[in-house]
């Protein structure tokens, strides 16, 4: 079966998502906003991996390369774990600083 959408489209969309995430992570001031941007970066990564896993030539035994899809599942699971730790840290920050603005959380400098 010939796939309708060629690989570069997937990669392009994934790269766009990834760099939107990078832009967001660098410009956002709200800590939760940065977390969301990082999730966007990770989604760009998973889309790239899934697309490659679909389009790469099958291995010697004729099976499609599953490693990429496996990595996708692990990234999603670990992203959830990282978000749990991250949100816990943000909560702790909010309790002491009464703010999650990353510019205001700056008692240590140089």
């Amino acid at each position: 079966m010939i796939p309708l959408i060629p690989l570069p489209w997937f990669l392009g969309l994934a790269a766009f998502m990834f760099f939107c995430g990078v832009f967001g992570a660098l410009t956002r001031r709200n800590a939760v906003g940065i977390l969301v941007a990082i999730e966007l970066m990770l989604n760009g990564v998973t889309l790239t991996l899934a697309a490659f896993a679909r389009f790469l030539p099958p291995g010697a035994d004729g099976a499609t390369p599953l490693a990429g899809q496996m990595l996708v599942v692990f990234i999603i699971a670990l992203a959830a774990a990282a978000a749990a730790v991250g949100l816990a840290i943000v909560l702790a920050i909010f309790r002491t600083f009464s703010s999650i603005d990353s510019q205001q959380i700056n008692i240590m400098r140089w």
């Binding site: 990082i38 490659f52 692990f74 990282a82």
Partner: protein
Amino acid sequence: MVGASELWQQMRYLMPEGLLLCAGLVILLFDLVVKKGRSLYPLAMLATAGAAALALLPLESSEPLFFGMIQSDAFARYFKVFSALAGFLVVLMSMDYKPLPARFVGEYLGILVLALAAIMLLAESTNLLMIFLSLEFLSLSSYILVGFLRNDKKSKEASLKYFLFGAMCTAVMLYGFALLYGASGSLDLPAIKAAFANRQNTPLTCLAMLFILAGFGFKVAMVPFHAWVPDAYEGAPTPITAFLSVGSKAGGFAVLLRVFFTVFPGLDYHPYWLAVVGVLAVFTMTVGNVIACSQDNLKRLLGYSSIAQAGYVLLGFVVMDGRFTQPAVMIYLLAYLFMNLGAFVVVIVIANTTGQEEIDDLAGLSERSPLLAWSMFIFLLSLAGVPPLGGWIGKYYIFATLVKGYLEGLSGGNLMLWFAVALAVNSVIAAYYYFRIVKAMFFEHARERMARPVVGGPLLTALYVSLILTFAVGLWPQPFLNWVSRMALPLL
């Protein structure tokens, strides 16, 4: 297909990690029933010492284990011993660290022991999936440990900065993994190398490698991924700062060495890569050293100093010749383990006495506690690379590696000479700020109400162990060098 009994057979190569994982979980469980968290320290010490002993057993396999996820070779075994040893000293240091809330000692020790297992797994991963999992395992535990002082604003801020920076670097690294997977069709390091052996590299591969360098560079504190280091080091509980500066950094270097030696030789742009890494290394040590000169907080100063030390070690990578590179890097890390942990022991004693960690708090230490002052002096000399101490042997080997690479006319030889010069110049800059501390200890007088520092048993043990081994690596380097050379990755 590998059968269940065969997998069970392979488990014996994972005994040190297994012991640490079980111990970590047992400590977390005991924490629920035991009233006094302090009674868990012996358990953590036993676990780390046991893991070190198990890692010393000559159980190696040159075959890939667990479907090619893990390779438990001599190289991995070296880092297992290293991480267990570092863990043992860090547990000793934590015992008398006052700001640690007594109620949460169990959680603290449990997560610390698990993080040590993560370093071991990182050193033996040969698959991008496994590298990602163990790196993330190590990172997540480190984020929690850095923010462990619940009532300390600095600790929380450090944790947030470390987390945001780390999560972003991990995402960039994963994008690199995805691109590398697309370019090579596999996540397995040997398979990736084979895929590159018989075809030209594309710009995609280069991009992938750059992105991957971000993730590993974050762990070893390489410029420009070093921004988290000063803040995380200053805010974290001091034993954890010590852990980050040796344990987590060694894990980063282990995976960097493995990826360098398995994937890079297949790349077309090999010499250019070495130049890129060399220039980054020079930037790393220069930035670390120059900024360290203006620091007043001891932990922050040691943080910048650890950035600079990472730069020295990275220079060892530039000569991609297995005979020199690996022993040089590994002996440097070994010396660095003892001298840096030793310096942090002194910082802990000072913080316990005065409640803060400024250079001024060291004023007149030679009158108040000659033992502490002289051992700090030794550790700083070693960090500065003065003979005949451990740090000198490490630096000597890195330097010799570069000069040998130049003399033997390896590709990019002239560049190596310049890198060697940069290393020498940086050592001089580093001496300036190390001697600022020495000046405070020996030539300034104590403020009036400064108490005499009291060193308890565990801290004293950690101090003596670090001191003896700093001397040992410097004065009798041959046994250590022989050992390290035996543990190097097989040449390809």
